[in-house]
Symmetry: C2
Subunit: 767 residues, 2 copies
């Protein structure tokens, strides 16, 4: 837990330079535009502790897996988010003395992330070893108006000297992933070129052979005029620079503009990369920094217009929620169905892979409500496109006949995680992928999705479950052995209630999808069935039998669902009675002790109650919540939001607020002591859910949107907007009540608390 950032409604502000916090700030102040992004590394050389990180969406490397003891079925490679060529660097050399904040006395340091405008700004005064004092003012953005482009404006002012100065903007592809398994470099040089004011670099990843062209043009402005820079170009493998030799006078400010473009072979033929990149750089330079910035800010204004949440009377909460929304919008724009939401976005490289079940369970609701429904649909199509790989994955594990097991972590559809208890056993992820289709259709009413993509995927998943269960003679029921539930603090358990429940639900939903597609388009149904060799009667009869005879562990006395069979055999001691020095248990306890304990890393039974709320009465939810909440340590960033939503549901608003706080400022306050590795991007969607679904009580049930709003006593009011079936609604809750305003779209009947409300005009309605 740290508290070194200033609270502000729209900005993240760091005042004063603390090298110990540099990695944390590099994560928090990251920029991205859905296509690429980078950590808030300094432009000039920094020899202190730093994690240099530039990332390109979809560009990964299958690093050879590191494993102590090999298990059959492990993937050979672990796909890693690649640290990509550095395009931010500008070396500053004053008469032979390099500017490096690690070797300066740094004063008046201010770093600001302007979330409203998507701009990173940094100012400081640095006294160099020689006694020279410079003022730096750096400003940069990754354009979301044109996602090929980024710009840097770097101003340097001499305070007490007049000297020759060399400014060397560069591009450097000779980078390394800090988490490389075998200390290998992943990039090969393809091409370098540089002139007196521009430079281009083409590099290629080993194995995957992605190419990226990184280009820059530079301008230097002195006393308001663009000067003739006549830079000295230099290139070597994977590196290009333009060294600009000039001089700076006391009290003079010099500004260097770096217009950058990143173009990858994901979007352009390799043969065109250089041309496209040159065009983009040319265009950007012509347009100029200020205009590009204006376009960028306008695009951000539009994003905020739709996705902002306003909280009144609590700056910390306001800043927290905006930071989360800002990062989500930086990470994924939904325009490319090949992309997904990496757990660290563009803020770090930890965890590898880009896609976890986080996307389906946590992120889709955010994008469903705050963006065009095409965005969430693209996330579904992403999984559909990986269906064959999921079938291959299941086949590798011994499943047959088109059964599909989606990977736990993936970049291209292949599994790239290798702990047996996760890779092979945390199979509930398959359920979340099915659930996301249901969730999407429930929200959008786009049932046609089932015909186009959904049914085929659901059949693959249903086939998996049908083979994964087996019949227990003693129980006279179907059981599911050897799983890891959402609570990863239990491994290889039998009959995890959540997994069994979602397995049955998947079978039912697959049958629903089959009936739907058949009823809508019998020919298409038959064509899919033929292609995937689907024997409807035989297969669905087996599915029905499983649905009818699935075993669910329950405790009759406590009237709760059991997280897994025999859960109550454990010593049940609430988290509050754990000594403080024992927490977090994942850092303090050995793994066996964690496994034997009753402590829950993240919502498990409660995840099921959240997903399938409509299937349970409020007392059931209450009983289970009150049993499991006290045992939950929330050592996953994905946990508190679900608890916040359920706590609000059962009217325990104090707990809901406590849970909300843990999720909203997780990274800003470095709650888990790991922000330096990058931000927890996917859990940020959970924070949004905690507000909208938790306090706002937003639900869609029986084809109707509804709210049961609650105003936390700590707030004066809050408001958010949601998109729903071509409407745009604004919901504002304050002490006077709930105001619902339809900003776009035709009439809509919704429910607020128990009352039906007809939204006709555009005026706010007080409910």
């Amino acid at each position: 837990m740290k508290d070194y950032l200033k609270k502000d409604e729209w900005k993240i502000i760091e005042e004063g330079f603390n090298p110990n916090y540099n990695r944390i700030s590099e994560s928090i102040f990251s920029l991205g535009n859905g296509r690429f992004g980078q950590r808030a590394n300094f432009e000039e050389t920094y020899s202190g502790d730093t994690l240099q990180g530039h990332y390109l969406a979809g560009i990964y490397y299958p690093d050879k897996t590191r494993v102590g003891w090999w298990k059959n079925g492990y993937p050979e490679y672990f796909a890693k988010v690649l640290n990509a060529p550095n395009w931010t660097g500008i070396k500053i050399d004053i008469d032979g003395e390099e500017l490096d904040l690690a070797n300066c006395e740094v004063n008046d340091f201010v770093r600001i992330l302007d979330m409203k405008n998507g701009v990173l700004e940094r100012t400081c005064t640095a006294k160099m070893k020689s006694g020279r004092i410079v003022k730096i003012h750096a400003k940069r953005f990754c354009s979301i108006a044109n996602d090929n482009i980024a710009c840097i404006r770097y101003a340097i002012k001499a305070v007490n000297f007049s000297d020759p100065i060399q400014l060397t903007p560069f591009l450097d592809g000779d980078v390394i992933n800090e988490d490389t398994n075998y200390d290998e470099k992943f990039w090969e040089p393809i091409h370098e070129e540089a002139t007196e004011n521009e430079a281009y670099l083409i590099t290629e990843t080993k194995k995957t052979e992605f190419q990226v062209c990184t280009g820059m043009r530079v301008q230097v402005v002195k006393n308001g005029d663009i000067i003739d820079i006549d830079g000295k170009s230099f290139t070597k493998d994977k590196y290009a620079e333009v060294a600009i030799n000039t001089s700076i006078k006391d009290e003079e400010e010099m500004v260097i503009y770096k217009y950058v473009s990143n173009i990858t072979s994901e979007n352009h033929p390799k043969s065109n990369l250089l041309t496209v990149c040159k065009n983009e750089v040319e265009k950007a330079t012509t347009t100029g920094f200020e205009q590009l910035l204006t376009d960028h800010q306008n695009a951000w204004a539009k994003k905020w217009e739709e996705s902002d949440i306003i909280i009144k009377g609590d700056v910390a909460a306001q800043q927290g929620i905006r930071f989360n929304i800002f990062q989500l919008n930086q990470t994924y724009t939904g325009e490319d169905e090949r992309l997904n939401i990496g757990p660290k976005g563009f803020t770090g490289e930890k965890y590898g892979g880009s896609t976890y079940w986080d996307t389906e369970a946590y992120c889709i609701p955010f994008y469903l409500s705050t963006a065009d429904q095409r965005v969430a649909r693209n996330l579904l199509v992403y999984r559909f496109k990986h269906l064959q790989k999921a079938i291959e994955n299941a086949t590798k594990l011994g499943f047959k006949n088109g059964a599909a097991l989606y990977p736990m972590v993936t970049m291209n559809g292949e599994e790239c995680h290798n702990e047996w208890e996760i890779t092979f056993e945390e199979i509930h992820r398959n359920g979340a992928i099915a659930y996301a289709i249901f969730d999407y259709i429930r929200y959008t009413n786009d049932e046609a999705y089932l015909t186009e993509y959904g049914m085929e995927l659901l059949v693959g998943i249903a086939r998996f479950w049908a083979q994964r269960v087996h019949f227990s003679k003693p129980k006279n029921k179907y059981v599911i052995h050897g799983v890891t539930g959402p609570n990863e603090y239990e491994n290889n358990v039998n009959n995890n209630w959540y997994t069994n429940f979602i397995a049955v639900w998947c079978l039912k939903y697959a049958m629903y999808a089959i009936d739907y597609v058949k009823s809508q388009n019998a020919t298409q149904f038959q064509s899919i069935a033929d292609r995937i060799k689907f024997y409807e009667v035989t297969e669905t009869n087996q599915w029905k039998d499983i649905v009818d005879k699935m075993y669910f562990p329950v405790d009759q006395e406590l009237q709760i669902f059991l997280q897994q069979e025999n859960f109550l055999d454990k010593e049940i001691i609430p988290v509050k009675d754990l000594p403080a020095e024992d927490r977090p248990i994942h850092q303090k306890w050995s793994w066996d002790r964690i496994l034997r304990s009753c402590y829950i890393k993240q919502a498990d039974v409660l995840q099921g109650l959240y997903f399938f709320e409509d299937a349970f009465d409020i007392d059931t939810i209450k009983r289970n919540f009150r049993f499991y909440e006290p045992l939950t340590v929330h050592e996953s960033s994905l946990s508190p939001c679900v608890h916040a939503i359920l706590a609000a549901k059962i009217g325990d608003y104090e707990k809901a607020y406590e849970m909300y706080l843990r999720t909203a400022r997780l990274d800003l306050d470095d709650y888990n002591n790991d922000t330096e590795d990058g931000c927890h991007i996917t859990s940020m969607a959970g924070t949004w859910m905690a507000v909208v679904k938790g306090f706002g009580g937003m639900r869609v049930a029986d084809d109707q949107l509804s709210f049961t709003p609650h105003l936390p006593s700590q707030w004066k009011g809050y408001s958010f907007k949601i998109r729903f079936r071509n409407r745009l609604l604004k919901i504002s809750i304050d002490t006077s009540g709930t105001h619902i305003q339809k900003l776009e779209g035709v009439d809509l009947k919704i429910k607020v608390n128990t009352k039906e409300v007809q939204l006709v005009g555009e005026d706010p309605i007080l409910c």
Copy 2:
């Protein structure tokens, strides 16, 4: 399964050179003398597929652990048996052409391991690329009469040429472990020297800083005369050689003798290594090859005199059992209490570490019966000396108050294995370590061991179990959660019957030991109790409560013990119904599928029935054997012997013989397709047990030795000797009955079948 070795009662014979089998033969034909050993690598250069391996007892390297996902409590280092300096090499160069069987036409190749004499011999004719034909006759041994010494006699004969020849015996410390985790070399150079006929090398291991001095002196004999060799010495880091330039005439044979000594800092001060090594080499050379060989053979004759098993009418079985006894005697001599029995002995480097629970569960009975009781006692003391490390290990995992958890794999008492399901959960190993004390005392009657060492260790272990159990409210019993039993095809299970049983047994035996020591020497008891802060009443009261209220999973209907809770929930399909292509399942199935299946890697419940046979009636043993045997895949080399013993116990002799066959020739026939990595040394003791405890039915119960002999129908007869309480007995079983002969020691009353037999004189008694 391979069958390329000739059957012979005393020899292992390979006729014809098959490079594909070279690694397997290198393992099988390994030599060792308890202090050092090496694989059967050729003396001359061999560029084909080979695993070059020289090993020194107790010399290890803590290689940095390789792990995919770190868990708290994992050891940082994985201690590896070190590939040590090569002392066998002799390069042969004939007028510029190097002798290398990989580049020759090889004829009349014969490799013989003479187990009676402990000698490796190889003869062949090699036609070189140039057309030159040479005959090689190499012979070597690692002296067990003087375990500092090894000798090579290498004869080479020119068949069709007369040419200059260079013989270059060398010492090479620049070796690498094939299983190094990060491709590092583990040895540093300290010193090299060489003269015209000798060379010395001192090398030191990184981190552990063991030093070894490897020395050699060479002699060359031509036409029966020692020639003046005037070798050209050459040294570089970690390497020394003596190149002998002479000539060879057609039909002439030239013999090179290499007298080698390996001296380590385990047994001598570092400053003395060179002097001691030089003395040993000098002494050996003076004594001469033939005399050293005679001394060595005499020592082997003595070993065989005590440990041989003779099987009549079945050469394959005879060869198999002798190979096992030979390897066990090569691996561990029991003279150094710091040493233990590595799973691969001196035959390979796989599995790292030297000590597994194999020692206690499988090896101790062999050494108890075939060697002075001091040998088994040393193995017990070895663990006692690691008690503090075991306490540290338990502390690291959250246990308190002197609780001891012995490591799963170790070299120096520290854990060096890191799969959580093994390292943290396969805790039954603690039980085997306690059981070995019981087993030793039962056999030797040396109860004083409890006072000297045993009780303190037993208290540490009992304290572990007392903390590792917890009380289950629903069961109203103590339970043990999250363990891996001996059957490693189940992980993280609750209430493994074997573990629960041995835990309770440990508590009871610790209390017995306490009472014994108190009764024998109250002062000493109090002194130990004070030192280890043992609060007898409080602690033993808790232990008694656990003993009284431990939960044991059973099935009332089948009247069997359940391997773990809910075992019968699995699909129970006997191994015989598995498709052949699915086996071995550890190579064909993914880990989750193995875990979910009912298949048993090695005896688990049955291990308990074997250890604690006296606690169960014969029907209980039968019912459990008949339930679990058909589910056991025996994919551990340690499994069949226990099944063989129990099958014999219940009179199922056909099964007993089948199981015996699987264990006896496991390596010779490369049954598991892994002999190339080295031999399964520890399971070899199991083979001995299968004969002596299985067919011979040897037991010690109620302070009395007994036999219930059975003659397998495939054999004409068999006999073995055992040491028992200062007697030496010979037991011969043939069609005429069982003959018992007391060869040494005072009178003894034993039981054969149900009959008591008084052994008075030295004449055989027919029972």
